[in-house]
Symmetry: C2
Subunit: 193 residues, 2 copies
DNA sequence: CGCGACGTTGATTTGCCTCAACGATTGTGG
DNA sequence: CCACAATCGTTGAGGCAAATCAACGTCGCG
């Protein structure tokens, strides 16, 4: 499947696009390759694109006191990645986005996307629905973090994102879960007995 | 100011409504009174309305193992309150919404609102923008919880929501901050020395 | 007045962190 | 193809933030 077919079928899971709208997407989303270790968005830069992962794996994180890495999200094929805060407000990003594998994203500039919204309510609707789910996922996560001990959170992550758990190093998973690599190691040990 | 003027000026902070659109809001939002202690949304029910607080103060929370209360949000005049997860997906709510004071909300049924979206792109846009900010606020909060100790979180809450801090009992604030009332008490004591 | 809701305080426990050291694996240049 | 470094996971000892449990003071209210 080519990149745009993937993008379009992704849209069609939420809304119904006509041919003209498909054309709009094809003409305005730009494919970009990235390689392992490459930083796609820098903290401090303004994020002015929406980015859809066609292939590969990325992490989104921020630095604590300029040193310690806190992972906020992972992303793989079929996910959108961004510092939405920066994208929406035009302020400098607090998050980095970095490639964990080689891959390809489709991206579109905010100005272009806003123009598409004027031309197609279906496209605007898609993003409304998308932001809704993103919100819901975050609410879920916040509830989870506050009410579950680390062990439970780890277990649920494995069930929910087996595909991601396999692809990222353990210390980064620990960072996502909000614990130290050492502690995660102890949890895993206990579990396997 | 009457309820609808308040609602309309709230919309106009984000989009530009014409007279017909204002009429749509006035005709389709329904004012409802609630009194202190009343439960506006029950866990287990499906949330099928968007709710805008015109007056009063509410808390949104869930129960942990059917016993312990975890507060997710507070809300006062000018805020929207909901279990968006339930609203978006039509599944039973995980959250309760309960009044901390007497007050009034304006509410609209999901089916009605979806119909308004068909009639007015401005109204749909307003909600897209609204969900964007809601998302951003949640991201901010998640980052905050993971990287700051309780003391710092308390301090920031007081600065940011002085109006709320004054209106809710201390043990509920503790719940929102993710700490025990006892520990919050110790923090406050330390602070005042 | 007396009861229940709320805040405070002390003693103890615990979940998770920090620091430090040590294998195992991978990759890279000589 | 080996040697060495770097990267990653594991293990142990000790420490700290915050929880738990229990008791007590203080309001406001029926």
């Amino acid at each position: 499947m080519n990149h745009f077919d993937f993008l379009i079928s992704h849209f069609n899971q939420k809304v119904k696009l006509n041919e003209a709208e498909k054309e709009l997407l094809i003409r305005n989303f730009v494919p970009t390759e990235f390689s392992k270790g490459e930083i796609i968005l820098f903290q401090g830069d303004v994020s002015s694109h929406m980015r859809f992962i066609v292939e590969g794996c990325v992490k989104t994180y921020y630095l604590d006191e300029e040193t310690k890495e806190h992972i906020v999200h992972f992303g793989i094929e079929g996910w959108w990645v961004n510092d939405l805060y920066s994208y929406f407000t035009g302020t400098p990003a607090t998050l980095f986005i970095e490639a964990l594998e080689n891959g390809i994203i489709l991206q579109i500039h905010r100005d272009t996307l806003d123009r598409l919204f004027e031309e197609s309510q279906q496209i605007e609707r898609f993003f409304r629905l998308k932001f809704q789910s993103a919100y819901v996922a975050f609410q879920d996560r916040t509830i989870n973090i506050n009410s579950q001990p680390a062990e439970q959170r780890y277990k649920e992550f494995c069930e929910k994102y087996r595909d991601i758990e396999q692809r990222v190093p353990q210390y980064q998973l620990a960072s996502y879960l909000g614990i130290t690599p050492e502690f995660l190691s102890r949890l895993r040990k206990k579990k396997n007995l």
